[in-house]
Amino acid sequence: MKQLWFAAICIGYMIGTTLGFSNVEPPNIDGAHIITAGDAWSVNIRIPNGTAGEQVVGVLQNGFKTIIAHLTLGTGGVANWQIPLGEITQSGETALIIYYGKEEYRQSLQVQPGVPTVVELFTSANSMPAYGEGSATIMVLPRDNWGNAADNTSEFQLDSLYPGGQHNSNTFTYKGGLGWMTLHSQGNPGRVRAALEYGSLSASLELTQTPGEPQFASLRLSPDCVFNDGRDRISLVATITDSHGNPVTDGTLVTFSWRHGHGSASTVDGQATLRLPAPTSHTGQFSYRATSGETHSNTVFLKITEETCSYD
């Protein structure tokens, strides 16, 4: 019986001790819970039942940066931690961890981005088809002194000047500090200048409006009659324009085709030229055609003769 009483008393002590330890109150953290990036910050950490002279370790996890301080509790179990200007620089949620003895307490701190001091414009495409057939996404990224993207409250306007002199003004849509808008082409091929000004901040970029896809093709052949001795060369010249009659973009590939053969050349100012030896196999008429994309040219004919070519 004595042993049972002894065991019960021991178990009671163990439970009491455990409960006693687990009832340690969390520290009281007295300081701003929302601050601006780059600002100074001060906080009082009060440890219930803490005694003066005890050590507390404070850790602030701000972005990739970790700030650690060994603090000494003063009267009433209070320690003061002051973080100077320019230390807490990364916006977003920041973790504050307090170590006291073997205990660990966590609390979060909100760091807001500062006032934008720099703004950048960038685009998803440097060129787009003209005549309203193309578009590009323009993005704006305002950032504060510490590189934090500004809040979504920023309001910038983009002024666009088109080749024909048209003027447009657009606003951005924001998410996570990044603003974007779709810029549509207008008018003929040429340069589009886009600029942004907001207080002392400014940024600009340029885009190119390119001609549209090939729409019209015409083919010339020179000469159109050669001897059959195989010593002549012929030139095939294709002129390719877009839907508005403007020359297609330089480099557009034109495929010249003839019976059992083909070759290609690229346009310069809308014209592509291919020079090749005249057929030597037999006399008669040979046809040539040019194709660019889905556009086909007229057919031209080359006469191969044993006699004199007559140029009427």
């Binding site: 557009t252 059992h260 290609s264 291919l274 030896p277 889905e294």
Partner: protein
């Protein structure tokens, strides 16, 4: 090897405590190679440079080895032969080869340390000298820290004979208290007593062997413990890399020269003497070790090494055995020279042939040793094993500027120097110079040592290189530095473009649209205790050795310390049973072993009776006979050489060899032709093309007919290896013998005059003044490149069951390598560039399983035009081959296919000067020679869907205004269409317009 050492030393110089090296193989651990020599080099480089430090450590190793040879030889022979042995080590061709040709610092360092440790091992085993055990252990710790394999295997071949010899000697020496019962009548229980006496003779030495063995294992394990942990957790599972040391030296005579004749050198003459001398004395166990090493060193010349080594035969480099054999033979070689200079052999020669022959033999051998050592040391000057030295500064500067080191790079044709480049830059290489550390499947699934020298491993090597060049985005590989024209075609047709030449004539090739390296590269973290061990223990072994030697040399004798006087030890050895079985030993002078059992002695004594000086005339006759033999031998060798170089086969071989190495003027000398040399050279230059300019002769098969009146027909098949495949070219040659020399009859017309002498044309060029990256974090700071607007035709997935897709492992690898090595899966289609600018197009296909998991992924290799003009269309074919595809054991597991198509602006590789005049004629309408014309053909089904895309490279170049006939490749017969859902994705895609014309054939080509 030297550069690999300097690279490793550079690693320790930069980060001693961090074992992870990111500059090779997308990251590897330095735990994979014992570090002592590298760390030592790194430390010395702090006060000099890496090359100087390397030379310093090598110099120290050479001196230590010479000393070691002397000390090791003293175990087996007397002082004078041991001195000669050390002298021979200085002029040993195998050591010269190891140092000057292979630059194997760890091998040299460790063999030196090991040889110095062995006398202590002997001393411990024989005399129970505890001091020797500590000294030997310390030196073995240094050896283990330098190179574990040498220490491990060296123990078998170097330490094994020591252990066996000591035990044998102990076994033969009777103890004073033994009773042999010679005066008593033999009884059965005498056998047991006698046996126990024999056991008791060797038991203490055997115990010491055990102590030594356990100590050695502990030392080996502890000194480089992180290495063992790494090799256990990350075992090497790669296909065996062929090594010439495993070849038959009779067939591969070059390998025989490098791995047998040169290392053995003059010692091969002494080998029979060494074996005779060894097997006829108590050193027969050492001679057995020598014989075994010499046998293993013959590689695949006989099947015996493969039978003995079994699976290890295909992993080990067998030249190591020859190197060890040439070290072990040195004590016998010392004996040989002693005998020649001071002993019986010299007397015998003088007696039988005269003193002049004795002087001649000594002088000839001595001169041969020195000459061969000098020759070997300078071998790389006569025979190039490595490309010429490249000035790395322009490459280092290129990588350092404009953030070029944000991507990985690759070198081609640099040889071992690539390690030296790596040591000088922070940029990362996709490969490296230490193949045991490779883990990328593209490297481990083919028997290729390095991508840099892929052409030397033929098709498997090039297959591995193709995998890297085809999928550069997988490794963030953007730049390739090319020091060998051979690789240019592969780079060009795999979508790379040349940026031009650096000041050192190295070409820089770039691939567009490759993402830069992530900001944080994955790093394997190792526990701190392992890093601490790796950083301290190996280099600490030197300090441990210094302390032990100082203590045992200065302190122990001064204070007359003895471990046996320690109270505990004293008490222990007091116990009779321990003293009797483990400690008690006989310290009498060893008796000379009986030679009665050496029955052959009777025969040899008969054959070579004791020397008696002979009369002068007899010596003259013998001397003249010997002279005649030497002269006859010379004549036979000379005749054999002449037959080797003057036969029709030899002339054909020499002609093709001259063509292979571009010695065109020399090749003219083997011809009988009406062309003048100028006409011949012009005719050759007009051949052009991939075979003439970018090929390497892989194999030459010659079949000759009968010679009729100085004429002969030869059927020659030359297999030319190019970066794009192998081309077997069969030719029939008529050979004519003129003035006793065979010549190849070249009957061709002189090259015709050009059609026009002045050709005009216009060309359009582009320049992109923009950064190299598409929209990304980097681009935010530097502007953006547009994404090209692309349109993809309906696709098909096809299967060719018979086509090989991977390197099927040999039987000895088969147990480790599992895969499907036949059955090509391809995705075929066409893509059009609808952008306003020329675009570099990258097409990636992904095979997915039932749950959408990625089974395999690859880009188009060369079956497309990677750069497209605006409105240009190219067919394409994505081939799944290599490691990824081999892993798909059952193709029914493929549930769907994803095709990712993306493009960025480009200004490169846009030459389209080739014109299809008719179905079989190409014409060059441009201004530059097209060196390698490439035709891609497209075959459609009845309903207009693309069924197959084929391609062919023409072997001949086409000069401007010239035409060339060609034949298209046939359609494969066993082609099956797989009905799989296909999803097409990409950053900017437009729908494919029905009715868009599909080109049945597209043509482009590479112009250098």
């Amino acid at each position: 090897m030297m550069h690999m050492c300097t690279f490793s030393a550079d690693h320790y110089d930069r980060s001693w405590w961090n074992p992870w090296e990111t500059r090779w193989y997308t990251g590897f651990t330095m735990f994979s190679y014992p570090p002592l020599t590298h760390q030592l080099t790194a430390l010395i480089s702090k006060i000099s440079s890496l090359p100087t430090a390397f030379i310093t450590v090598m110099l120290i190793s050479s001196v230590v080895t010479t000393l070691g040879v002397y000390r090791f030889s003293r175990l087996w022979v007397n002082e004078r032969p041991a001195s000669y042995a050390a002298l021979l080590a200085v002029v040993s061709s195998s050591i010269a080869e190891t140092i000057h040709v292979f630059g194997q610092l760890p091998t040299m360092f460790v063999i030196g340390v090991l040889l110095n440790a062995l006398p202590f091992v002997w001393s411990w085993l024989d005399d129970a000298d505890i001091t020797a055990l500590f000294r030997g252990g310390a030196l073995l710790m240094v050896a283990a820290a330098g190179h574990h394999v040498t220490t491990l295997f060296g123990m078998i071949f170097f330490s094994g004979p020591i252990l066996a010899t000591v035990l044998l000697r102990k076994f033969r020496i009777p103890h004073p208290h033994e009773n042999h019962y010679e005066s008593e009548k033999f009884r059965f229980w005498h056998v047991r007593r006698l046996a126990m006496q024999r056991i008791q003779r060797v038991a203490p030495a055997l115990f010491r062997c055990g102590v030594f063995g356990v100590s050695l294992i502990v030392i080996l394990v502890v000194t480089v413990l992180p290495y063992w942990l790494w090799s256990r957790s990350d075992p090497i599972t790669q296909i065996t890399i062929p090594h010439s040391s495993r070849d038959s030296f009779l067939e591969n005579t070059s390998a025989g020269l490098m791995f047998f004749l040169i290392p053995w050198g003059v010692l091969i003459v002494i080998l029979p003497y060494a074996l005779y001398k060894g097997f006829s004395t108590s050193n027969w166990i050492l001679a057995s070790s020598l014989a075994l090493l010499a046998l293993l060193g013959t590689g695949g010349t006989t099947p015996i090494p493969a039978l003995l080594l079994r699976g290890s035969f295909y992993i080990l480099t067998l030249d190591r055995f020859t190197f060890w054999a040439t070290i072990i033979i040195l004590p016998f070689a010392g004996l040989y020279f002693e005998s020649l200079l001071h002993g019986r052999l010299g007397q015998w020669i003088a007696a039988h042939f005269g003193s002049s022959w004795r002087i001649l033999t000594v002088g000839g051998l001595g001169t041969s040793f020195i000459a061969l050592a000098i020759f070997t040391a300078n071998l790389t000057q006569y025979r190039k094993f490595q490309p010429a030295p490249v000035n790395m500064t322009p490459i280092v500067e290129f990588l350092a500027k404009d953030n070029h080191d944000n991507w990985r790079y690759l070198t081609l044709g640099f040889g071992d120097q690539m390690a030296w480049l790596s040591a000088q830059t922070n940029a990362l290489n996709v490969e490296g110079n230490y193949h045991s550390a490779r883990r990328l499947p593209e490297l481990t699934s083919t028997p290729i040592e390095r991508l840099d020298g892929a052409k030397f491993t033929s098709i498997p090597g090039l297959g591995s290189l193709q995998a890297f060049l085809t999928n550069p985005q997988r490794y963030n590989l953007k730049y390739v530095f090319v020091n060998d024209d051979f690789y240019e075609p592969l780079l060009y047709f795999a979508g790379w473009h040349s940026l031009g030449q650096l000041e050192n004539d190295v070409q820089v090739w770039e691939r567009a649209d490759v993402p830069p390296l992530p900001a944080a590269i994955p790093v394997q973290m190792y526990p701190a205790w392992q890093r601490l061990m790796w950083g301290t223990l190996p280099i600490g072994s030197l300090f441990v050795t210094a302390i032990i030697f100082s203590f045992t040399t200065l302190v122990v004798p001064r204070f007359n310390l003895s471990i046996q006087r320690l109270p505990i030890i004293k008490r222990v050895i007091h116990w009779r049973i321990l003293r009797f079985w483990l400690i008690a030993d006989d310290y009498r002078a060893p008796l000379r072993p009986s030679q009665d059992w050496q029955f052959w002695r009777r025969v040899t004594n008969r054959l070579f009776p004791s020397i008696r000086l002979t009369p002068v005339p007899r010596r003259i006759i013998f001397g003249l006979v010997l002279l005649a033999i030497v002269i006859s031998g010379g004549i036979v060798i000379g005749g054999s050489l002449y037959g080797h170089t003057g036969s029709p086969e030899a002339v054909i071989l020499a002609y093709y060899d001259a063509l292979d190495f571009k010695r065109f003027t020399e090749s003219y000398a083997y011809l009988q032709t009406d062309l003048s040399q100028d006409e011949y050279l012009r005719w050759l230059s007009l051949q052009g093309g991939i075979l003439a300019s970018f090929a390497k002769l892989e194999n030459l098969y010659i079949e000759t007919g009968n010679s009729v009146s100085d004429k002969m027909t030869a059927f020659v098949t030359a297999e030319w290896l190019t970066a794009l495949g192998t081309y077997p070219i069969a030719e029939t040659w008529q050979l004519i013998r003129i003035d006793g020399t065979w010549r190849l009859n070249l009957d061709v017309e002189p090259p015709s005059q050009p059609r026009e002498t002045f050709i005009t044309n216009t060309e359009l060029g582009f320049h992109i003044d923009l950064p190299l990256t598409p929209l990304s974090e980097t681009a935010l700071k530097r502007g953006t490149l547009d994404r090209a607007l692309l349109s993809v035709s309906p696709l098909n997935v096809v299967y060719l069951p018979e086509v090989p897709i991977g390197f099927a492992p040999k039987s000895y690898d088969a147990s480790r390598i599992e895969g499907r090595f036949e059955g090509l899966i391809s995705v075929v289609g066409a893509v059009t560039n609808l952008s306003a600018f020329p675009a570099q197009v990258t097409i990636t296909a992904v095979l997915r399983g039932q749950d959408g998991e990625r089974l395999a992924e690859t880009n188009v290799m060369d079956v497309m035009m990677h750069q497209l003009w605006p409105m240009e269309t190219t067919p394409f074919r994505v081939d799944f081959s290599g490691a990824d595809a081999s892993d798909i054991l059952d193709i029914d597991k493929i549930a769907s296919v994803e095709l990712i198509v993306r493009g960025v602006p480009t200004s490169h590789n846009l030459d389209r000067s080739l014109v299809l005049l008719d179905e079989h004629t190409l014409y060059n309408a441009g201004l530059r020679q097209v060196d390698i014309p490439h035709l891609i053909t497209l075959n459609t089904t009845n309903d207009g869907r693309i069924r197959w895309v084929n391609h062919v490279y023409l072997e001949r170049a086409i000069t401007p205004d010239a035409a060339l006939q060609f034949e298209l490749p046939p359609m494969p017969e066993d082609l099956k269409i797989l009905d799989l859902p296909i999803e097409i994705s990409g950053p900017r895609l437009a729908d494919w317009q029905n009715g868009t014309p599909l080109p049945t054939i597209v043509i482009h080509g590479y112009s250098r």
